[in-house]
């Protein structure tokens, strides 16, 4: 494939936007640092103490926001990691001793311990195919287990009263305020940079559409486990500092109730906004420490009511209300998307990346069977296809066409038989691994990421080949020529920063096709790509498909109901009926087949008889 020399450049100051964002962040961080610096001198001591604790809680809430607000993992378990960090200090300072060396030891014990536990929990909670509910179940079990172990630890863990009175850092309360404050500010700034980076968008993509992520080659389980490990480490550091300043640790800090309290703070502040959860935690925790003395139960009742109201009526929390009010106050209109469009460029293509050559045969399916209980959907499917073929799968509803597509793109789907892609047996491998062999699958209904921009969605699709940056929001978007062709032909190149959910149905279909092509697949599976499109859109897609097969030598497998369309573009047609291939031939064979006519127009049973 030739690299297209003419990279369309959209000459907007793309870099400028990122820089101005960074400058804004810098100003906010500077203001926050100044506030933290003067805090201990202007605030009453009780407030200073409350805030130190709230800073550390807010750091944990931040990890909950990353996991739940951004990635969609409802976690009850961050408290456990906080507790692990705190108990690392408590146990080592109580039983081993205090000193710089021990403090360092405790720090590593906290972080490494939390990371190991997180890895185990992640392995348990996020296996391939796990339901989101199961993930939440595991995160709920974790703090219960950790706190019960602490309860049962006798004198070693101090049981229900925990550990207290151990010698700890000789640091003034002002200094603790600065340490905790700076920790929170830097953490928030880092998190802010991360969620805006290319890698951060992967998290949102997972929340939006985990299945599509798998099918663009992202190992979702692995991403979730890694994220869990990092968030656990951060929570453990917060717990470490907490124990250092409070000189008290108790099982409640690792418990399930604290875990849900974190969720309440995040929900009230506004999930998925970072700053909302941080402010929510600070405000709620500090007011709790003031108000719970005077009206202990009523205050908790109010929090409970506010939480329920927010979950039911304001799922995005209170933050959008506040920022909205601010904007109205300042007379500014709607929120403007700060990022300007990235520059499009042709990517250096790497077909068959990670594979040993192209393989002799693009696709070989043999003896593939699929049954649900006693219902047989695919009954011994055999065929193979070469590069450059445009093979249409036709047949009435329930013939098994979509099921066959699924069995090619996901090794876990079929009940029997083998599927080889570019001479690699897909075995039982999950979809992301099949993508690595060269499979690209477009779903029947446009399967995209609704809240991402067009450019972000395309970049997610490239993340298999171009490792996304953890800190940068890229200002160029490199795509293979064929993907560029699709987005230009459909005008999406002028809409790169538009949110996907604002696109028309046809544009979404085109976007999904471009995303699949961005994977640089060699075997392209398309399930009714023209459903719901207008006549002109259909013609356009048809032309692109023919070009992909003929010029770019892709092997295309197409499920299509529109037989006129099939006739125009296919090089070969397979007719399926009741889970079997009944005809495999040229377009003319099919058009002239009496059998096919009866299957479609007459009684299906007559055809089978």
């Amino acid at each position: 494939m030739a690299v297209s020399p003419e990279a369309v450049s959209v000459p907007v100051g793309a870099g400028r936007a990122a820089k101005s964002d960074l400058r804004k962040l810098g100003i906010i961080v500077a203001i926050a640092l100044v506030l933290v610096a003067v805090g201990p001198w202007v605030l009453p001591t009780y407030m200073v103490n409350s805030l130190i604790r709230a800073f550390l809680y807010a750091a944990v809430a931040l990890t909950v926001d990353i996991l739940w607000g951004y990635t969609g993992i409802l976690t009850f378990g961050q408290s456990a990691f906080f507790g692990i960090g705190a108990y690392a200090v408590g146990l080592i300072f109580t039983h081993v001793g205090y000193g710089p060396g021990y403090a360092t030891l405790a720090f590593f014990a906290a972080v490494v311990g939390a990371m190991i536990v997180a890895a185990v929990v992640g392995w348990l909670a996020f296996y391939h195919g796990a339901s989101p509910l199961y993930g939440s179940v595991v995160t709920l079990v974790l703090p219960i287990v950790v706190s019960q172990i602490l309860y049962s630890g006798g004198n070693f863990t101090g049981s229900s009263s925990g550990l207290s009175g151990f010698e700890s850092f000789d640091v003034s309360i002002e200094a603790w305020f600065w340490i905790a404050g700076v920790f929170l500010i830097l953490l928030t700034a880092l998190a802010w940079i991360f969620v805006r980076s290319d890698a951060g968008k992967v998290l949102v993509a997972i929340r939006e559409n985990e299945q599509r992520c798998e099918y663009v080659g992202i190992n979702v389980s692995r991403v979730k486990i890694l994220l869990m490990i990092v968030c656990a480490a951060v929570a453990a550091v917060a717990g470490y500092l907490f124990a250092g300043v409070q000189m008290v640790v108790a099982p409640e800090y690792a418990g399930f109730v604290f875990g849900t309290e974190l969720l309440i703070w995040v929900a009230l502040g506004g999930r998925g906004s970072l700053i909302g959860p941080v402010l929510g935690t600070l405000v709620l925790d500090v007011s709790t420490s003031y108000l719970s003395g005077n009206l202990p139960f009523v205050w908790k009742l109010i929090i409970g009511i506010a939480f329920v109201v927010v979950i039911v009526a304001l799922p995005r929390g209170l933050m959008p209300l506040i920022t909205g009010a601010f904007r109205r106050l300042l007379g500014r209109g709607k929120e403007v998307r700060a990022e300007s469009a990235p520059t499009l460029a042709a990517a250096t293509e790497q077909p068959f990346a990670g594979l040993q050559g192209g393989g002799a045969q693009a696709l070989a399916v043999s003896g593939v069977r699929k049954h649900f209980g006693s219902l047989v959907v695919l009954d011994g499917i055999d065929f193979s296809a070469q590069r450059g073929e445009l093979l249409s799968l036709v047949g009435p509803n329930g013939a098994g066409k979509t099921t066959l597509m699924r069995c090619i793109a996901d090794g876990g789907e079929r009940s029997g038989g083998t599927v080889r892609v570019n001479d690699h047996d897909i075995g039982r491998l999950p979809p992301y691994a099949c993508v690595a062999f060269g499979v690209g699958r477009k779903f029947q209904n446009a399967n995209v990421f609704e809240t991402l921009s067009v450019a972000e969605a395309l970049r997610i699709a490239r993340s298999r080949l171009v490792r996304p940056s953890l800190s940068q929001h890229s200002t160029t978007l490199e795509l293979p020529e064929v993907a560029l062709q699709v987005i230009r032909a459909t005008g999406l190149d002028r809409d790169l920063q538009r949110e996907v959910r604002q696109l028309s149905h046809g544009e979404k279909q085109a976007l999904e096709l471009a995303m699949v092509l961005a994977l640089e697949p060699s075997v392209l599976l398309l399930d009714e790509p023209t459903a719901g499109l207008t006549k002109s859109e259909r013609t356009l897609i048809g032309g692109i498909l023919v070009d992909l097969a003929q010029r770019h030598r892709l092997c295309i497998l197409l499920v299509e109901h529109d037989l006129d369309f099939v006739r125009e573009i296919s090089s070969r047609v397979i007719v399926m009926h009741q889970g079997k291939i009944v005809l495999d031939g040229t377009v003319d064979d099919v058009v002239n087949s009496e059998l096919v006519r009866t299957i479609y127009a007459g009684g299906a049973a007559q055809a089978a008889a």
Binding site: P396, N397, G398, N445, A446, S504, H505, K508, E528, A531, G532, H561, D562, L563, Q578, V590, V591, V596, R597, Y600, A601, G602, G603, A604, A605, Q606
Partner: protein, 234 residues
């Protein structure tokens, strides 16, 4: 006489895709109306929209003269409408008897109706305790029709009932539907891909293509068969 079903200017679809565009059709009491079209042309969507499963984007649905636009499915069903979906139409794990009873609001005439309908489908009365999921494909389809008839509907909405049926059963079914119409004056809207069957039972027909009605007429009309074949040809 007020029409059993009157759909006018109907727009509907899934998500942002508009599947039906400005569809209008009327089914008179005692009339069997066949709606033809290939897969993916919006036929099932029409029935689901009439039933209230899919939100109406424009236009109206009237049943027996009453405006029912936007009403929930159970309210539509309770206005003497029996709907037979194409897929997952039976409670597979429930018995044949339970499946039949779930279609009824008034169970006082269960035995009487079962005896009558059992004449057309002799296997039914003898297998009431059997799990519906263990019936053969053709038997399941017959159970579906029986369930709809037991409800004593004034309008039946039937989605591709002949799919996967033996020719002999299709023939019997045609007799049952026509018999019910003659006996009780039930109006029926049939969605079909099987043209022979549709033309054999229907009084009028329409062809749906890409969400729009492209042809309509009386079944016996000169040239009707040719036009339909043209629209549905490979």
């Amino acid at each position: 006489m007020t029409a059993a079903l009157e759909v006018s200017g109907l727009n509907s679809g899934y998500g942002e895709a508009l599947v039906l565009r400005d569809v209008a059709l009327t089914v008179e009491p005692g009339e069997i109306f066949a709606l033809l079209g290939k897969n993916g042309m919006g036929k099932s969507t029409l029935l689901k929209t009439v039933m209230g499963f899919i939100a109406i984007r424009g236009g109206s649905v009237r049943l027996f003269g009453d405006d029912r636009t936007g009403q929930p499915p159970h309210r539509i069903a309770r206005s003497a409408v029996a709907y037979t979906p194409q897929e997952q139409a039976l409670f597979q794990d429930l018995s044949v008897r339970d499946n039949l009873q779930l279609g009824l609001r008034d169970r006082s005439h269960f035995d009487e109706d079962l005896a009558r309908i059992g004449q057309a489908f002799p296997f039914l009365p003898t297998r009431l305790a059997q799990r519906a999921g263990t019936l053969s494909g053709g038997e399941q389809k017959m159970l579906l029709v029986a369930r709809a008839l037991m409800a004593r509907p004034k309008l039946m909405l039937i989605d591709e009932i002949t799919e996967g049926m033996q020719p002999s059963v299709i023939e019997r079914l045609a007799g049952v539907l026509r018999g019910e119409r003659d006996r009780a004056g039930t109006a029926m809207l049939l969605i079909e891909q099987n043209v022979q069957f549709a033309l054999a039972v229907g009084d009028r027909y329409a062809v749906l293509k890409r969400g729009e009605i492209v042809d309509r007429g009386a079944v016996g009309e000169a040239g009707a068969v040719e036009r339909i074949t043209e629209h549905l040809s490979v």
